[in-house]
């Protein structure tokens, strides 16, 4: 298997690889952050903060 030097460290960590539990956790973090930002900005509007 070829190793992409732009994405893979000498220890084998590939930053573009996204599989398994790690991928699920990344998705969960993304969802949580997106909802937090959207709720915060929307509530700020509804409470007349901008």
């Amino acid at each position: 298997m070829s190793v992409h030097s732009h994405t893979t460290t000498h220890t084998g960590f590939d930053y573009m690889a996204n599989t398994g539990q790690e991928a699920q956790d990344r998705d969960a973090c993304g969802i949580l952050l997106a909802l937090a930002i959207m709720v915060l900005l929307t509530l700020c509007q509804y409470f007349g903060l901008y």
Binding site: H10, F13, Y15, Q21, D25, A28, C29, G30, L41, Q45
Partner: protein
């Protein structure tokens, strides 16, 4: 003591927040993304005049507008492609140090984050002001183009990941959709960049050809405004083609563009669903690669659809919608910088010219059918003369 990179994720995991790693580990990569983004785009809150965006704007001014449209908008320079280009240059000229790679892996958090936050941008209610027939044409053009492209991909035996990205970009008329589809299709970065180049490249040709073809069909200015939006390429290319046909056509293209824009999510959802179902039906077929690795419908995509529904109910009103979109710009700029750094020129050229040929065939067929249908609608009075 083993290096942190070599320890399997499962052994260091304590909760799902473990996917964000430690602050010290991600800082170099995060700073790399930040600096590339800040020097690529005029990001809200950053008063940096030395950006690629400003350089392109200045060069567009030097060249002068092409049919009332700036050159670099026609070439699709925007908040995704500027950092991608800069990341590509940095990565290929100086390489990517190992210390950056933990931080750059945040791209996989930034992608679903940005796509979910895009939902307030697509307010369907705005588009129905265009009228039922133009909206129906927008939907049919979107689904028809996606279906036709996916069919050609199978016919010509193109890698289905590459083909699905082309289908998404071509049917939505927005090369952003190529990047949005990347985590859904599990496409390679090189395939995404290549597919985008195909869609933009075809758009440049269509921009020149379509006005002449429309004249042959004898389309009125109003109707060509709609046809250009649905049949050319990105918004700026459509605008330039319409202004080439006539000033009124250009103004109408601006009016109709909202119809294409608000149903964009339906385009990439359609492409994802078709490829995902195909993968489920051909689980053991080694030629079916698109969406491989995705076992069930992604939760974050469900969250996006839910938020899109809330948007259509006008939950995110004006200032909040703009504030959220500002965050999307930041998010996609950072993610595109990481994507650009991951690519080599060879990765982009590796998929070859087959994708371009399929884009050209699908795009040309779409143009011909669209012009014929729009002409028919004008003749029958479904569209105004």
């Amino acid at each position: 003591m083993p290096e942190i990179d070599s320890i399997p994720y499962a052994r260091t995991r304590t909760s799902f927040f473990s996917a964000m790693y430690g602050y010290g580990e991600i800082l170099p990569g995060l700073l790399a993304m930040l600096f590339i983004s800040v020097f690529a785009n005029n990001l809200p809150g950053v008063p940096n005049p030395f950006t690629l965006e400003n350089l392109f704007e200045w060069l567009s001014g030097v060249v002068g507008p092409i049919n009332h449209t700036p050159l670099f908008q026609i070439l699709n320079a925007n908040f995704v492609w500027n950092p991608l280009l800069l990341g590509l240059l940095v990565g290929n000229c100086f390489g990517v140090p190992d210390s950056w790679k933990r931080g750059l892996s945040l791209i996989h958090i930034l992608m679903p984050l940005g796509i979910i936050m895009l939902a307030p941008h697509f307010m369907i209610g705005h588009a129905f002001k265009l009228g039922l027939v133009p909206m129906l044409l927008c939907v049919l053009a979107l689904l028809g183009t996606a279906g036709l492209t996916l069919f050609l991909v199978r016919l010509f035996k193109l890698d289905d990941r590459h083909g699905a990205i082309i289908a998404g970009g071509l049917c939505t008329g927005d090369p952003h959709a190529c990047v949005i589809l990347m985590p859904l299709i599990k496409a390679k970065g090189g395939q995404v960049a290549n597919a985008t180049a195909c869609v933009i490249g075809f758009g440049l040709v269509a921009m020149v050809v379509m006005p002449s073809m429309a004249a042959w069909f004898g389309l009125p200015q109003t109707a060509f405004g709609l046809a250009a939006v649905l049949g050319v390429g990105n918004g700026a290319q459509a605008m330039s083609a319409a202004f080439a046909y006539g000033y009124e056509a250009g103004r109408y293209a601006g009016w109709f563009d909202v119809g294409r824009h608000v149903i964009m999510p339906a385009g990439f959802l359609f492409v994802f669903c078709i490829t995902f179902l195909r993968k489920l039906r051909h689980k053991d077929d080694p030629r079916v690669l698109a969406t491989r690795g995705i076992e069930r419908f992604p939760i974050w995509l469900g969250v996006f659809i839910f938020c899109w529904g809330l948007t259509c109910l006008h939950l995110f009103r004006e200032p909040a919608h703009h504030a959220i979109f500002t965050m999307v710009k930041w998010d996609f700029s950072l993610a595109a910088a990481a994507l650009g750094l991951s690519l080599s020129w060879r990765d982009i050229l590796a998929p070859g010219l087959k994708g371009l040929a399929i884009t050209a065939i699908a795009g040309t067929l779409r143009m011909l059918v669209l012009l014929a249908v729009v002409a028919l609608c004008v003749k029958t009075g479904l569209l105004p003369k």
